[in-house]
Structures are given as C-alpha cells and as structure tokens.
C-alpha cells in the first residue's frame, strides 16, 4: 500500500519552544496508528502539524489527501456545545467539501446523512440539540460528521474520554470499518487495552522524539506508560 502521509525529518515548535525534533515516518491508507506519550510530549502539536495549522520549523509533511478530506475530531472540551444545532445538522455539515457554504443539500445527501446516523445509532436523536446529548452521543455525532465528509485521513484526539463502554465499542468498530474502507486513522490514546484492540502501529512520542512500535512489541509500565521495547527505527513495515 502506498503511503498517503509522509513526515520527513519534521521539527515543530510552539512559539519559541521546540516540541518535536526530526520525526520521520509514513502512514498508509487503511492503517490505524496510535499516538501515545505523556502529557506535553507533543501529540497535539503533531496533529496540528499534520492538519497544516502549524507550519513546520524544519522538514516536511507530505500529504496525498486534499484538505477537504482530512478530518480532525478535537477533544470535546474544545467545542461550544451550547450552540443551537441538532444532531442531524451537525452530521450534515460534513457535506462541506462538496457543498461549501452556499449549495443546498439534496435528497441524496439527506439519505446519506440518515444512513450515517443509523450506522452510529443516532436515528432516534436526529432532532435533539447538541447541548442535551451525553458525552458518548456527542462523540458519535462528531464521528458522523467525519463519515459524512468521506474523510480519507482521520485524526482523533482522545475520542474515548467521557464516553460510556457501549459507545467505545461502537466507535472502535466504526473506526475499524473505516480503516477497512481505506481511511487512514491517527488516534491519540492513553488506554493500552483500547490500543491493542485498535491500532496497527504505535508512534510513541517522548521528550520531543518519536519511536515506532507494533502493538505487540510494546511493553507497558504498571503506570500505564509505554516502556522502551524493540523499536523499529524507521516508520512503516513496508
């Protein structure tokens, strides 16, 4: 499989502080990569760099996926959920790449929206305002938007925080299905049980440097932090 995202000796800085140094690697279509590391290790910074929000200090991000098909699921706290918008309206806003600000959604889009909500178990909540949803329901609605967007590169920042167990199962299943359809998923995770079930590969960020693992080759400290294992020095196993 071809790499759809390549990092070439990437260095990223937040203001004057160097956060990531000389990170290289490739992300393939249909792969799920877990991004792990302690708080402040640069996980969110890397996500910003990949989305093109933060310009690299050195090195390059080469992405085959156009901006319109890159989706970013931020942490829930980053969103203003008091906004008067229904689940359906949020899901339908994923039509942005094809419809922009002005084009009217046609019956085909509404049918697709219905199918997406069905897939995520949201059909009964269709007209519910976002402010009245539980954490798990919101996360499903947000994932619905990325499905609607037909994203080919999906970045998620701790999507399982504040989410009930049943929804975690549904989200894991949906993400696996998306990967099987060729979507490349990059997911910030802390729980190593979820990581084992979901990820094909692991990128461990620590003190500004990245180390690549397979989920099997990782060993975990009792604290839940990954310990050094036999890292594959260069990105993918291709």
């Amino acid at each position: 499989m071809a790499a759809i995202l390549t990092l070439e000796s990437l260095s990223l800085a937040q203001g004057n502080r160097l956060v990531l140094e000389d990170l290289s690697g490739e992300f393939e279509a249909g792969s799920i990569t877990a991004l792990v590391g302690p708080n402040g290790a640069g996980k969110s910074t890397l996500v910003q760099g990949i989305m093109g929000v933060l310009r690299p200090l050195r090195g390059r991000v080469l992405c085959q996926v156009p901006h319109a098909r890159r989706a970013w699921l931020p942490q829930q706290l980053a969103l203003d959920l008091s906004f008067p918008m229904s689940v359906e309206e949020l899901v339908m806003s994923g039509c942005w790449p094809t419809h922009g600000s002005f084009r009217r959604y046609g019956p085909a889009e509404y049918r697709r929206g219905q199918a997406v909500m069905q897939r995520l178990g949201l059909q009964a909540l269709e007209h519910r305002p976002l402010g009245e949803l539980s954490g798990g329901q919101r996360q499903r609605a947000l994932l619905g938007r990325t499905l609607m967007q037909e994203a080919r590169l999906l970045l998620l920042d701790e999507p399982f925080a504040n989410v009930d167990a049943a929804t975690v199962e549904l989200l894991i299943q949906t993400l696996r299905d998306m990967a099987a359809e060729g979507v490349s998923v990059i997911i910030v995770l802390h729980d190593h049980d979820q990581l084992r079930r979901l990820a094909d590969r692991v990128l461990h960020l620590d003190r500004g440097h990245g180390h690549w693992y397979t989920p099997q080759s990782m060993t975990w400290a009792p604290s839940g932090q990954p310990m050094t294992a036999t890292a594959t020095t260069q990105g993918p196993t291709s």
Binding site: M51, G52, V53, H67, A68, R70, A71, W72, P74, A78, L79, D80, L81, F83, P84, M85, S86, E89, L90, S93, W96, P97, G100, S101, F102, P129, L130, G131, R145
Partner: protein
C-alpha cells in the same frame, strides 16, 4: 383604534418612509444580533455603535446634516475601529474585546468633541437619538440597500458562521480562514449600525440588533426559531415604536428600543426557556412522585 394604528402610517410620507426603514432594518439587524449573542460578542455590538460616532461627526462637519456624508463617515469610522482592534489584538496577543473597548472609547470621545466644535445641541440630539423626520428618500434608499446587501452576504456566509461558532477548527481544516469571515461579519454589523442611526440614533441602533435577539433566546432553542422570532420582535418594536413616537410626540429611537426592551423583560420573566417563570415552575416539579401519572 384602527384609525390610531393605521392612519398615521398611511397619511404622512415621513411615517411611510420611517416604517419601511424600520421594517428593512428589522429584517437583518436581529439575525446579526442572534449571531453576536451566540458568538459571545453581545457587548461588541454596543462598542461598535459608539465607535461609529466620530465618523458621523466628521461627515456632519464637512457636509452639514447630510445623511449620505454622515453614513459614509460612520461606516469608515466603524470599519477603522474594527480593523485597528483586530490588528492590535493580533500583533499584541491581547484579546480582541479589550482592544475594541479601548478604541471605541477613544472614538466616542473624539466624536462628541467634533460635534461640539460646530453645531447646536439640537444637532447632537438628532445624531445621538435619531429622528423619524430625518428619513428622506435618499436615506430610505440607503437603508434598503444596506438591508439587501446584508441579507445576501448573510445568506452566503450563513453556514460558515454556524459551523464556525460550533467548531472553528473544522473550517480551518477545510481551508477557510476564520479571520476573514470574522472581519466580514464585523463589517456587516457596522454597515447596519450606520444604516440604523438615522431612525434610531447612533447609540441606540444596536438596540434593534441585540434586544430582539436576547429576547428570542427565552422562546426558542433552535437557530431558525431564534432568527424568525428575533425578526418578528424587531418588526413589532419598530412599528409600535413609530406609532408611539408619533402619537406621544417622543423621539423615535428611544420609543422603538424601549418597546423592544419591554418585550425582552417580559420574555425574561415569562418566556418558555430559562425565564424566571420557567425556572420557578421547574423547581416545583421534583416534589411530584415519579409515577404520578399512573
């Protein structure tokens, strides 16, 4: 009664023009207000209304009581303050609202100073509080033009504004620059404040924007409901305020805004959501046994 309601609006040219002006403003200013409240910028509208004043004053000094000159001046001053505030906040990293607050105070003082240099206090009263007599045909064209432009632009950026309020990063990922949309939105707001000052006065033009929007929040939790209700409240206040102003011989601006204010207060007391009454009613509910209905 019908005579009291209808005949002033039909019999006098200036009332007809003021009515059309009021309805045109009520069609676009309240939706802008709804977005201002949703974006947490309720007081920014107020600050911008003050910022418009020196431009109006310069127009007044140069061309006398000429509405096009005063409107153009007001528009320039409003856009200048919005632009300066935006640049200062971007260059210094300070929050934009503190920059807007600083610039509008400078602007307001400059405006009052300029007006006092020339002109009597009657002129100042006109500029500050508006006058239905001021709406001549030129002014009417100006107001209707501004409303039409605002309506079209608002329709074009509506989805962007909605999506951006909820999740700015989504649009950034899609390659839409939030700053440009924000600037366009502030521009629309200034445009409407300038259009509103002839009937309402510079200081109260923002009232027709904010009061219907804040009142509507007590009646609806849906965006289209908020917009529709805010427009209806705005139109009701405009028509009612004009009639009140005509019959009681009061300035039109305060009449319209006080009427909108009364609707806001009633909504806050008796509205369907989050009002005092709704909260009071909700507080007694838990006392009922959970299976009271059988």
């Amino acid at each position: 009664m019908i005579d009291w309601l209808i005949s002033p609006l039909l019999d006098f040219g200036f009332m007809r023009r003021a009515l059309v002006a009021g309805l045109a403003l009520s069609l676009v200013a309240p939706p802008l207000g709804v977005f201002l409240t949703l974006r947490g910028m309720s007081l920014v509208g107020d600050a911008m209304a003050h910022a418009v004043l020196p431009g109006v004053a310069v127009g007044f000094l140069l061309a006398g009581f000429s509405l096009p000159a005063m409107s153009l001046g007001g528009l320039a001053a409003g856009l200048l303050v919005a632009g300066l505030a935006g640049s200062v906040s971007r260059l210094t990293g300070h929050r934009e609202d503190s920059a807007i607050a600083s610039f509008y105070l400078i602007s307001l003082a400059a405006g009052v100073m300029l007006i006092s240099l020339r002109g009597s206090s009657v002129d100042l009263t006109h500029v500050l509080f508006g006058s239905i007599l001021a709406v001549d045909t030129t002014a009417l064209w100006l107001i209707v033009g501004v409303s039409s432009v605002t309506l079209v632009v608002l329709a074009a950026i509506f989805r962007i504004l909605v999506v951006e309020c909820l999740d700015p990063l989504f649009l950034r990922g899609q390659g839409i620059r939030g700053g440009a949309v924000h600037g366009l939105f502030l521009g629309l707001m200034v445009l409407n404040l300038t259009a509103g000052f002839q009937t309402l006065g510079t200081l109260m033009a923002v009232g027709l924007m904010m009061l219907p929007a804040t009142a509507a929040r007590f009646w609806s939790t849906r965006l289209e409901g908020l917009m529709g209700l805010a427009i209806a409240i705005g139109m009701l206040s405009s028509v009612g305020g004009l009639l009140l102003s005509y019959h009681a011989g009061l300035p039109s601006g305060p009449c319209i805004i006080l009427l909108a204010g009364a609707i806001y207060l009633l909504s806050a007391l008796f509205g369907r959501y989050h009002s005092v009454f709704a909260r009071w009613r909700r507080r007694v509910q838990p006392i009922l046994p959970p299976d009271a209905h059988g």
